[in-house]
């Protein structure tokens, strides 16, 4: 059951991600991306990491995509067709990607991963403790840094987006 689900999700992810980078209608591309992100959150759910799945859904599906759609709407007509990339460039980029993918997969498949046996699902409580733990292996400092970063980004985004007025 899970296997089938995984394959379905995988197929969705691959198909939509490709569609997302090749669609010529920008709003459709954003929609395909949304599907990809949702499918990835599905995988998080499959590996019993529901907290991250939820985060993925809310932050990406809810926040980022909406942000992107807003910006698209701000700067484009909805029906705008994207410019066609030169075919030469597509081929080169495709070639690099395929070769890169090949070498990565080759590396993955030649490496003998030893699966852990003591499988257990990831609890939200554990993650909370880990994130806020200041003992051994605690992530309180990065956590705080990320908070500050988010704050800074928020302020920065406002400042930048506000920019200078055109008449200045």
């Amino acid at each position: 059951m899970e296997t089938i689900l995984f394959y379905i999700l995988s197929a969705l992810i691959v198909v939509f991600s490709i569609a997302s980078v090749s669609s010529r209608k920008i709003l459709r591309a954003v929609t395909y991306l949304l599907f990809v992100l949702i499918a990835i959150s599905g995988i998080y759910f499959l590996v019993d990491y529901s907290f991250l799945g939820a985060v993925q859904l809310t932050v990406y599906g809810g926040g980022v995509i909406v942000l992107i759609i807003f910006s698209v709407l701000l700067v484009h007509h909805i029906e705008l067709e994207l410019e066609v990339t030169p075919i030469k460039r597509k081929i080169i980029a495709g070639l690099i990607s395929v070769v890169g993918l090949g070498i990565t997969l080759w590396a993955i498949y030649t490496f003998p991963f030893t699966n852990a046996t003591n499988y257990k699902s990831i609890e939200v409580a554990d993650i909370g403790r880990k994130l806020l733990g200041y003992g051994d292996g605690g992530f309180i400092l990065p956590f705080e840094v990320i908070s500050v970063l988010l704050l800074a980004v928020m302020v920065g985004a406002i400042v930048i987006a506000k920019g200078k007025k055109l008449n200045e």
Binding site: I92, A93, I96, V99, G100, I103, W106, A107
Partner: protein, 638 residues
């Protein structure tokens, strides 16, 4: 005996040159002329004293001993070095007398001739420089010292020919003289280098010793069938031929007449041009003994051909100084051929003695001819025969002295030239009949063209002159009279008592039979000239028409100048120098610039990689990463 005072003979003119040269603006003309004349007067006295002392007392066991005073000037290798010093032997003393006499006379003469000229002091400075160099050359103790002074006389000749440096023809003549002789000196220098390498010495005493290792071992190394030393001697003769205006290096001498006339008398008639003869005479034992005198034969033939060639050209020239120049060349050819046919021992050395004898008498009468010509030019301000005529009435002293000199050079009996020329002809007759015949013919030609000049200047048509010519001042006529005296008296010196190749006196007698032939030929020439030129008539034109093309060739000096011009302008400049300049600009420089341009255009090409598109940069980054990954894995596998 002490001859160390002879060192003063070159040093006095040197001091004069330095003083007059540095203060040429400060010293007034009147003083500088006197300074030069007095200085040269002292050397004149010293030279005659040295000659008196040496010829009277210089013999030990009947052989003239050389006296050498020298010090080391520069060391090349352990063996080779240049010494500076004085060598007193018969020929150098004889040359001292010649040079100091002519130089002194020319100094005196120039005081009158150059009067009022801007560069009066400069002129005397140059003359002093020349005298210094010439004395140094004459007194040289070794080959390299001769070469040094050889170059210096060349340079002072350059300065003196180009004395009227605002005149383009004078400048080009000066350049020509220097470059042609420099080219010949190139041969001289290579000859010196060969001698230095193969014999290990440049010292005349060692080189010329007939029993010495140099002469006995001449065959040690050979090159293209001849001994290297023969090659060296031929190359050295090349230098001598350049300075003495032998064929084919004679082209500078006629042009050198652009210089002031006293200079022509001093340098281009009496002293510097005979340096080539002196050089061969200096190395005479080497020339004679090495390879059985092969190089000496070259000297003889070059001398004979030059003398004939120059005499023919002299027939047709109209510039009186040029006639005299070709005459000089012809007479030097005589001296060369005399050396060339000479032997070494005893009476065989007649040619050598005759050559030196002729050098001496020639210096006197040719110097006189030039001074007299200068006197004429001074009076009427023209060099050309067409502008002259009937001058005997106006310039009696010049007339008489010129006549004496002309008789002397034509070999009329009882004049100096007769005796010396007769010795040369005798020597030629005894050795090489071909050269003898040519020489006799030249003697006739000489008489003819000299009297063509004489009649053309002093007789012929009575010209109307713009302002009446008048006799030159005393300062000019006194030296002329002295030289006229020498042109007669010089012949009565018994040269064979003083000068011979082996430094041993011998007895030379007049060969009356040969002398009669030569004088007759000379007289025929004079009579012919009398018929052609005594009165104004058109005989000469008819003759020149009759000879047609031959006359034209002769008049144009057999087109030697044109050939040289062609070789230098077209071949050396056009085919070598210009292409090499082009090559430098368009190949060497262009390839250096090309390297720069390629770098620049390459950077323009790869500049596109900095497209500003972050995607391109990322693409480069990722593909680089991929490539590195591939390489790493590849290495990892292996």
């Amino acid at each position: 005996m002490d001859f160390s005072y002879t060192i003063l003979i070159p040093l006095i003119p040197l001091a004069l040159f330095v003083i007059l040269g540095i203060f040429s603006k400060k010293i007034p003309a009147s003083i500088s002329g006197w300074m030069g004349s007095i200085g040269l007067g002292v050397t004149f006295v010293l030279s005659y004293y040295a000659a008196y002392q040496y010829y009277l007392n210089g013999k030990v066991n009947g052989v003239y001993q050389p006296f050498i005073y020298k010090y080391n000037w520069m060391n090349f290798t352990d063996k080779l070095h240049i010494d500076m010093g004085v060598l007193i032997d018969p020929i150098s003393v004889m040359m001292l007398v010649v040079v100091s006499t002519i130089s002194f006379m020319v100094h005196l003469y120039s005081r009158g001739y150059m009067k009022g000229d801007d560069g009066y002091t400069r002129f005397f400075a140059y003359l002093a420089l020349f005298s210094f160099s010439m004395f140094g050359l004459v007194l040289a103790t070794n080959l390299f010292q001769i070469y040094i002074f050889w170059e210096l006389v060349g340079a002072s000749s350059f300065l003196l020919i180009g004395y009227y440096y605002t005149k383009p023809s004078a400048v080009s003549a000066a350049k020509k003289a220097f470059i042609v002789t420099r080219f010949a000196d190139f041969g001289f220098l290579v000859g010196i280098l060969i001698i230095g390498y193969y014999t290990g010495t440049w010292d005349f005493q060692e080189l010329n010793n007939p029993e010495g290792s140099v002469i006995t071992n001449w065959a040690s190394t050979s090159f293209m069938g001849l001994s290297v030393l023969t090659w060296a001697l031929i190359l050295i003769f090349m230098g001598g031929a350049g300075k003495s205006a032998m064929l084919p290096f004679h082209i500078w001498l006629p042009d050198a007449m652009e210089g002031p006339t006293p200079v022509s008398a001093l340098i281009h008639a009496a002293t510097m041009v005979v340096a080539g003869v002196y050089l061969v005479a200096r190395l005479f034992p080497m020339y004679y003994f090495i390879e059985d005198g092969f190089a000496l034969q070259v000297v003889a033939y070059v001398g004979a051909i030059s003398s004939l060639f120059a005499a023919i050209i002299a027939l047709t020239q109209n510039d009186i100084k040029r006639v005299l120049a070709f005459s000089t060349m012809s007479q030097i050819g005589y001296m060369m051929l005399a050396l060339g046919v000479s032997g070494y021992h005893g009476h065989d050395g007649l040619g050598f003695m005759a050559s030196m004898f002729h050098l001496f008498t020639h210096a006197m009468f040719k110097g006189l001819l030039f001074l007299a010509a200068g006197s004429v030019i001074h009076a009427i301000h023209s060099n050309y025969l067409q502008d002259m005529g009937g001058l005997r009435k106006y310039m009696p002293i010049t007339h008489i002295t010129f006549l004496i000199a002309a008789l002397s050079i034509s070999g009329v009996p009882f004049f100096a030239g007769f005796f010396s020329k007769d010795e040369i002809l005798t020597a030629a007759y005894e050795n090489n009949i071909l050269i003898y015949i040519s020489s006799v013919f030249v003697a006739g030609l000489t008489a003819f063209y000299m009297f063509r000049l004489y009649f053309g200047i002093f007789w012929g048509k009575d010209k109307e002159y713009e302002h009446t010519p008048h006799e030159s001042p005393m300062s000019m006529t006194i030296p002329m009279m002295f030289l006229a005296f020498m042109s007669i008296a010089g012949g009565y010196i018994h040269f064979s008592k003083y000068i011979s190749p082996d430094h041993m006196p011998f007895e030379a007698h007049l060969n009356y039979y040969l002398a009669a032939i030569a004088s007759t030929v000379g007289l025929i020439g004079i009579v012919l000239a009398f018929i052609f030129y005594k009165k104004e008539n058109n005989l000469s034109e008819r003759f020149s028409h009759a000879f047609g093309i031959f006359y034209k060739w002769t008049y144009n000096k057999f087109y030697f100048d044109e050939i040289y011009l062609f070789v230098t302008k077209k071949i050396i400049f056009g085919l070598v120098a210009k292409p090499s300049a082009w090559f430098d600009k368009n190949v060497v420089d262009a390839s250096m610039i090309g390297i720069g341009n390629v770098t620049e255009s390459f950077s323009y090409k790869i500049k596109g990689m900095q497209s500003g598109k972050f995607q391109d940069y990322a693409m480069g980054f990722i593909s680089g990463g991929v490539v590195i990954a591939i390489v790493v894995f590849y290495l990892w596998i292996n």
